[in-house]
């Protein structure tokens, strides 16, 4: 309509930019976006805490500095000595939450990378070969998607036995279909695009086209998806270890497990639930905020 004509006229300078500039444009928009910046800040905080945990935490995660002060009815809360209070075994809650960041970051990153790698592989296979390969791959993806993610993660983790690696693999697997679909969609959309047709007509073979043209152009949505997946992976990992499927080693505290262990003391020692819970929220929220705004910055369809 006419209104959009007017807007189109004022926007025309921006619209006619090549893709490289669009990315620069997205970056510029992101740098001015308070939500994205807060998200980035939360992520940075989370990552730094994870890396420098031994420097930040006053106690080892399995040390019991307050062993003598604990009775079942009295678990001391936050104090100057123990910022987040003590847990039911007399361990310093602050140190454990700080160390927990390591597990959380590790599970999130590894699960996302594996899930992404698996999804990229399946998606590229389906998109590049099409036909029967596509049908088979997408049917597998459909079947995987027909099981609710948490349920599938539980099944896989149960199969592998409780532990950190089981959790990582389980979460990686449930995230494969998302990336597979994303990549396949990208490939199908780009297969008909002008530059791919140009490359084909110049006699470029399939592999160089896929590796040299299509994949690089699919990177932005994959990065967005990976950022969002990091958030869900952290939450899912916490959920699995909440259910007792994570590791049980007291030297490697996990936030989900800490929350599960605190269930009995919720009324008497709410700080034991509060701090690990907040830690999960901070980590997940950081990736969610950045991921959402990244998506909006890159894809105008989501911009509002």
């Amino acid at each position: 309509m006419s209104l959009s004509e007017v807007e189109a006229a004022t926007e025309s300078e921006q619209v006619e930019q090549p893709a490289g500039n669009l990315r620069k444009e997205a970056w510029k928009r992101l740098k001015r976006d308070p939500i994205a910046l807060v998200g980035f800040g939360l992520i940075a905080f989370f990552v730094l805490v994870a890396i420098f945990a031994p420097l930040i935490a006053p106690y080892a995660p399995d040390a019991q500095p307050g062993r003598g002060m604990i009775t079942p009815t009295n678990i001391p809360g936050p104090s100057a000595e123990h910022w987040f209070g003590l847990d039911a075994s007399g361990r310093d809650e602050f140190s454990r939450v700080v160390y927990g960041a390591r597990q959380s970051l590790l599970v999130g990153v590894v699960a996302t990378l594996f899930g992404m790698a698996g999804g990229l592989l399946l998606g590229v296979l389906a998109g590049a070969f099409g036909g029967k390969v596509d049908t088979v791959v997408m049917r597998i993806v459909d079947i995987m998607l027909s099981i609710p993610g948490l349920l599938m993660a539980i099944a896989i983790a149960a199969l592998l036995g409780a532990g950190l690696w089981s959790v990582m693999i389980a979460i990686a697997i449930i995230n494969v279909p998302v990336f597979a679909r994303l990549l396949r969609g990208q490939m199908l959309a780009q297969r008909g695009s002008d530059y791919v047709l140009a490359a084909v007509s110049l006699g470029v073979r399939r592999r160089p086209i896929v590796l040299g043209h299509i994949l690089p152009n699919s990177i932005s949505p994959v990065i967005v998806q990976a950022t969002l997946t990091l958030a869900t992976a952290i939450i899912e990992a916490a959920g699995l270890s909440f259910l007792g499927l994570g590791g049980a080693d007291p030297r490697v505290p996990e936030w989900g497990r800490m929350l599960a262990d605190t269930q009995r003391y919720l009324a008497s020692a709410p700080h034991l639930a509060f701090f690990p819970g907040i830690a999960i929220v901070i980590a997940a929220l950081g990736f969610t905020m950045l991921g959402e705004r990244l998506r909006e910055a890159i894809d105008p369809k989501y911009r509002r």
Binding site: M1, E5, A9
Partner: protein
């Protein structure tokens, strides 16, 4: 008939009197755009008025401003729109709702997107009758059927139950026209009603509009970029460029003797069937985005073959020249050959 003999029309009071209308869009962080800039025109009862211009000239925004259909956010509307003596721009919102669809109706450009895809045609027609004429149930349905029949939709009873995607483009536009005419409005605004249609259908729709307007005695404001549409339909034509009217005249005067170089260019760029074989087309050089801001000079100057130095020295005024108004310092000579 009416189209040729304009004497009695001039004496009657105007039905619609647009005075110094301006519309400004402001976008957060973006530039301010004045899409309509001091536009004035009148429409008398029964008169057919054309608003002509390229896309971006402000003609559609003008019509939406008259209907008060522009978004409220980021839009400032100035001036007056007198309809039957009331200023539509200051009317309470509910009174404006009463007028819309009953006294002033509108037909839009794209009949596919202008119809709700998930609501049957019948409901989309009867809802106007229910709203303004208190018709209900079977009475409303029968009236809707009659309306569809009148706009030339065969088998209207069946069509009422169908959804927009089941109709052809021409049918959809006919259905939209039926909705617009449902309450016998005194003014019909048609915003590029044929642009989205096939060429053969375009002529049918124009013919239909002409017929219906003559039958009901409604006034018509036809908004188009197509001079061919105007030539067969309008009593008076206003040519708009970059938000302002640059030339207004009766149809015969305008087509016979275009004075503004832009009007001349528009006319010359229409492909003619009677032109000799192989004769070149004469598009207007440049594009509508090559505009000068009106307060610096004539917005058309960058593309104008008749440009003088004075044209970019200050804003040209809309001068009255007896049979027409013209906003140009160096108009085309009377009966001058249109420059190529």
């Amino acid at each position: 008939m009416r189209v040729t003999d304009s004497e009695p029309l001039l004496r009657s009071e105007p039905l619609l009197d647009v005075r110094d209308l301006s519309v400004t869009f402001t976008r957060k962080g973006g530039p301010t755009v004045r899409a309509v800039d001091g536009v004035s025109f009148t429409v008398r009862p029964g008169e057919t008025v054309g608003l002509v211009g390229e896309s971006g000239s402000g003609k559609s925004v003008t019509s939406l401003a008259v209907m008060r259909l522009l978004p409220r956010r980021g839009v400032q509307v100035g001036g007056q729109v007198l309809f039957d003596g009331d200023d539509l721009l200051t009317l309470p919102r509910d009174r404006m709702r009463d007028i819309r669809g009953r006294d002033i109706a509108m037909v839009f450009q794209d009949p596919m997107s202008s119809l709700n895809p998930v609501v049957p045609i019948g409901i989309q027609v009867t809802e106007v009758l229910e709203r303004h004429q208190d018709l209900k149930g079977e009475t409303a349905r029968a009236a809707a059927e009659e309306l569809l029949f009148r706009v030339g939709i065969p088998d209207p009873r069946r069509r009422l139950k169908e959804y927009p995607h089941q109709l052809s483009g021409g049918m959809r536009q006919r259905a939209l026209i039926a909705m617009a005419l449902a309450c016998k409005p005194r003014l019909l605004i048609a915003d590029e009603p044929t642009t989205a249609l096939d060429v053969t259908i375009q002529a049918q729709i124009i013919e239909l509009l002409k017929e219906l307007v003559q039958d009901t005695g409604a006034s018509l404001v036809m908004i188009t970029h197509d001079l061919g549409v105007v030539a067969g339909l309008c009593d008076t034509v206003h040519v708009m460029y970059s938000g302002r009217i640059v030339e207004s005249a009766g149809r015969r005067e305008l087509f016979g003797e275009p004075r503004h170089p832009y009007t001349g260019g528009l006319l010359a760029s229409v492909p003619r069937l009677d032109a000799p074989r192989g004769a070149p087309l004469h598009p207007i050089p440049g594009s509508p985005t090559d505009v000068l801001s009106w307060h610096k000079g004539c917005a058309f100057a960058p593309r104008c073959p008749n440009r003088l130095d004075a044209c970019i020295g200050g804003p040209p005024r809309l001068e009255s020249l007896g049979d027409r108004s013209l906003r140009c310092l160096n108009p085309l000579e009377q009966n001058e050959e249109v420059p190529a």
